[in-house]
Assembly symmetry: C2
Homo-oligomer: 229 residues x 2
């Protein structure tokens, strides 16, 4: 198979937070693949439109599913891989866009695994994560010294266990449980509790301190909090 499937990290939202490498690879690819799920817009493509001329490129929208059922997800991932394979077989390179960094909680890896099983080539371009961008926007360090940095969705199994330890905690995509998350962080002794909604977008909001964070925030809200000895 001659074509390569590139997993391209486009950063958290601000088009300027894309890397030189991502811009170069997108410019070199004939095809742009844009993952989308119900309710989510195609922000990744908007970012790219700001920094690359994509008028001559073929855009493939890939409809991912939000489901807890592994069989249903697996079936959809296979279908998505099957739409990409013919392009790769014909020697076309595909830039598969991802918000944030492609190695951190993205769907690209599932598709990449199937393409690889079918003899396709994969190449990955790293990018800026939402939690690094949020810390930069707040102008505060995320983690210092020897403190561990724990990144997790609030739905993760050992959520409360992790909050027992000294660490910087970053809680992703959890704006809807805002009140509950603030309670838990405070109870476990965390300080400097902040929230960033829609980091890097025109709708971005920064809330400093639990007294200022709303009880419900948007889906793309990220909490940061620190517990140190």
């Amino acid at each position: 198979m001659k074509g390569t499937l590139y997993g391209i990290s486009v950063g958290p939202g601000d088009p300027e937070l894309i890397t030189l490498k991502a811009v170069r690879i997108i410019n070199e690819c004939e095809i742009i693949a844009v993952p989308r799920t119900r309710g989510e817009n195609t922000l990744a493509l908007e970012i790219v439109r700001n920094v690359c001329d994509i008028s001559q490129k073929e855009i493939l929208y890939l409809d991912f599913l939000m489901s807890e059922d592994r069989q249903i997800l697996k079936k959809r991932h296979n279908e998505i891989a099957e739409t990409l394979l013919p392009y790769l077989e014909n020697g076309k390179n595909i830039a598969f866009l991802n918000i944030g960094d492609v190695s951190v909680y993205s769907t690209f890896s599932y598709i990449a695994a199937i393409i690889r099983e079918n003899g396709g080539q994969i190449s990955v371009c790293a990018g800026v994560t939402s939690f690094c961008a949020a810390a930069a926007e707040m102008g505060e360090p995320l983690v210092q010294g020897k403190n561990p940095l724990v990144i997790m969705p609030s739905s993760c199994t050992d959520f409360e266990k992790f909050l027992d330890a000294d660490c910087t905690a970053v809680i992703m995509k959890s704006g809807r449980n805002s009140a509950d998350i603030m309670d838990k962080l405070s109870q476990k002794g965390f300080e400097n509790i902040n929230a960033v909604c829609d980091c890097g977008l025109a709708t971005q909001k920064i809330y400093r301190g639990t007294e200022n964070i709303p009880d419900k925030c948007g889906y793309f809200t990220l909490f940061t909090a620190v517990k140190e000895k």
Copy 2:
């Protein structure tokens, strides 16, 4: 104070992994500040030299110390801030370079705090972390689904406690204790143990599996390992 101190993330080593924003801000600043510690070269400046014309800029080398003594560190941080303040007072903008992302284990935040106390303005530009770049180079996802992602130096207090939980573990700057780290990861049930040395540099090496990782690696070695239910 009219000038701004910019904390600029230049990414992990590959000059192409710098962001468009970092390039723009560096081009707009008259002064480039380059932190260095004994034994470490000025990689950040080499990255920038590849992507910006810095021939007309003033370069300030800032000599940081490696010490466990907080008083000694604090004194040196004050001295470094004092070398920067006159430039800011004169309305000059300074681009303070940082390998990786400036919010993750960097020295910038200590200097930024002192500058802020003295009435100076701070602005931070996020970048690509070494652990995201390492995952991209390996072509494997760092973290998927609902698994937490734990980033830590092996010297952190609760190191072994964190390894009890299901997570993706990233262990930073720990090449010299390679054998010990591999033992602990294996004992705690981690799989897919990999190491990346000098990520993004000409000297980069990727080792997959404990049977292939040397017992001693260079300082800039990063381990990744996964434990999932």
